[in-house]
């Protein structure tokens, strides 16, 4: 009957998202510009010299995630909202298996976050004089964080797209769910900056990976219910 697998269907959705995004660049621009603007505002006012030495670990890790999360929120809901706005949602609903749609869009959001982090994090470290001792550890924390954040954002985006689709609603619904994740990400970033040992980030990493995993699993069950009436 069906010659394809869930994987190929998900990749088809991802490929379509990437193609659309690279042509219109709406999400990329939004996310990139928000990130850059916030970063410049922070760097200009605070910079590497305004924070006391003992406060640097706390503040620098927290500020980084404030910038990253704020920027991400501006673009992560687009994957579903644009389908409803462009009236392609129903067409997609009648052509694809729900899990394939979820997987494809999750992967797209993940790549969007990866692009954001790659752009902002090095720039932040340079502008704010943030020296990171454990770069591989930080990379792990960022990767795990991206997966968890993408998981939560994608299912929330699916929910709000079927409601009013407003970005404010996306923010309101995401914040309580993302707060624990943010706390763990900030702690993990701090630990990675302070020490090159992988063991330093393990507690936070465990928390982030399990939260992301739990969210992904629940999303697989919830998404078909949200996607279809």
């Amino acid at each position: 009957m069906r010659a394809s697998t869930l994987l190929s269907e998900s990749l088809a959705v991802l490929a379509k998202e990437l193609k659309s995004e690279l042509r219109s660049r709406v999400a990329l621009n939004a996310v990139g510009l928000f990130g850059l603007t916030t970063l410049i505002a922070v760097a200009y006012q605070i910079g590497p010299y305004q924070i006391q030495e003992q406060d640097r670990p706390h503040l620098l890790s927290a500020l980084l995630w404030v910038i990253l999360f704020f920027a991400a929120t501006s673009g992560l809901s687009r994957v579903f909202v644009k389908e409803e706005d462009a009236h392609t949602a129903k067409t997609l609903r009648l052509a694809a298996r729900p899990v394939a749609v979820l997987a494809g869009k999750f992967l797209f959001n993940l790549l969007l976050l990866a692009a954001l982090y790659t752009f902002i994090v090095p720039l932040y470290c340079a502008l704010m004089g943030y020296s990171v001792k454990g770069v591989p550890s930080l990379a792990l924390v960022l990767a795990a964080g991206a997966i968890a954040l993408s998981a939560t954002s994608t299912i929330v985006a699916a929910i709000i797209a079927r409601a009013s689709g407003a970005t404010t609603l996306f923010a309101i619904l995401s914040v309580p769910l993302v707060l624990p994740l943010l706390v763990m990400l900030i702690q993990g970033t701090r630990a990675a900056a302070a020490s090159a040992a992988l063991a330093a980030v393990l507690p936070a990493l465990r928390g982030i990976v399990s939260l992301g995993g739990a969210t992904l699993i629940v999303s697989v069950y919830l998404f078909p219910v949200v996607w279809h009436d």
Partner: protein, 208 residues
């Protein structure tokens, strides 16, 4: 795919306090065209949406019956092709890219030439097929929407006002499409257009 029929019994739909459909019953038989007619707001699109599984009825049942018995609701879409005014295709992709995407989603390995021919048969010439759909006229967009609905040769075809935005040539192309699908599919057409009503082997009239 083998013949599939769609049975619907006592289907009603309420939106809040407004009753849009009141106890509608019938069957979409394979090899037949069922026309759903009625004035604007009588629930033609709502009925088609319920039959497609996009909406749940407030009351009543819809059953897809295939060669192996009833088809579970989650798999109706595999056997269904639908074109409606509220179903667009991706404007940032070309007509061909759209069709390739939908083919991949449905697990079909369709040759480029086949898709090109399909579009040409629906009145979209080859030179337009690689332009972005966002640059098309509404008539051209409608042709792509129809192509999307039929590229997987579905045993159930639902067309909601298929000739809308189309000129005489476009209408002829749709008529040809319906004629081609009639022998081996269950076709439902929701329409006010008398020319389209004439296609019907069976008819349901909805009132306000």
């Amino acid at each position: 795919m083998s013949g599939v029929s769609v049975e619907f019994a006592r289907v009603s739909k309420r939106f809040g306090s407004r009753t849009v459909l009141a106890s509608v019953s019938g069957t979409l038989e394979s090899g037949q065209v069922l026309v759903v007619a009625g004035p604007n707001g009588s629930g033609k699109s709502t009925l088609l949406n319920i039959l497609a599984g996009v909406l749940r009825p407030s009351r009543g049942e819809v059953t897809y019956r295939g060669g192996d018995g009833p088809v579970p609701r989650a798999r109706w879409f595999e056997r269904l092709g639908m074109a409606a005014p509220d179903m667009s295709v991706y404007e940032e992709l070309s007509a061909l890219e759209n069709l390739h995407f939908f083919a991949r989603l449905r697990g079909l390995a369709v040759a480029d030439a086949v898709l090109r021919d399909l579009l040409v048969n629906l009145g979209l010439p080859a030179r337009e097929q690689t332009r972005l759909v966002g640059t098309y006229s509404s008539g051209m967009k409608q042709r792509v929407k129809l192509a999307q609905a039929v590229l997987h040769e579905p045993p159930v075809l639902m067309l909601d006002e298929p000739s809308s935005n189309l000129d005489a040539a476009g209408h002829e192309a749709v008529a040809g499409l319906v004629a081609r699908f009639r022998p081996r599919a269950a076709v439902a057409v929701a329409t006010n257009d008398p020319r389209e009503i004439a296609w019907g082997d069976a008819r349901i009239d909805l009132a306000l």
